[in-house]
Amino acid sequence: AQSVTQLDSHVSVSEGTPVLLRCNYSSSYSPSLFWYVQHPNKGLQLLLKYTSAATLVKGINGFEAEFKKSETSFHLTKPSAHMSDAAEYFCVVRSSGGSYIPTFGRGTSLIVHP
């Protein structure tokens, strides 16, 4: 069994300040973890993924995430928010056992103020 919990439904930041989107996961097997971004009326785009290599993963647009097994977390960060980062962000888990069907979190809406 697997699940993912995004701890905040909305995060509001000012442009130029750091971003932190929190994600905790549960998996009976070794997980692969992903962050996707969804801009309004657009499809989902992969930001980054963790697949048991380096625990600190760098993605597109300056985002990165750190896999912490002891905390079962995979938080997404960015040092400085840009207006174009305003979107919905989804944390996703896939397990190395079972059917590999990706399980999505409920999403975090990132709001960026000028």
Binding site: Y29, S52, R106
Partner: protein, 117 residues
């Protein structure tokens, strides 16, 4: 095509009517997924195709929902006797052979927004 294509992009229908939603995956992608996204919610898994067979259809919410895939390409999701609670964005994703394992990436279409009046 270059990406996953879904049609129609928007569909408004009356309660009780049947609707068909179409997904054209990326050429050569053997795996195809359907998800439903209700307003303000995460993605809810509906069904997964590997080639033309559906090894996992556990997410279909009722027998009013069905899906098929032909030629290891196009997939159609059909909702019969639509209800207001079926209103949502229906997202399709595909992945290649490498994407079959746990590390693979899914490529998403822009979705079909269904509104049932």
């Amino acid at each position: 095509g270059a990406g996953v294509s879904q049609s129609p992009s928007n569909k408004v229908t009356e309660k009780g009517k049947d609707v068909e939603l179409r997904c054209d995956p990326i050429s050569g992608h053997t795996a195809l997924y359907w998800y439903r996204q209700r307003l303000g919610q995460g993605l809810e898994f509906l069904i997964y195709f590997q080639g033309n067979s559906a090894p996992d259809k556990s997410g279909l919410p009722s027998d009013r929902f069905s899906a098929e895939r032909t030629g290891e390409s196009v997939s159609t999701l059909t909702i019969q006797r639509t209800q207001q609670e079926d209103s949502a964005v229906y997202l399709c994703a595909s992945s290649n052979q490498a994407g079959l394992g746990p590390t693979g990436e899914l490529f998403f279409g822009e979705g079909s927004r269904l509104t049932v009046l």
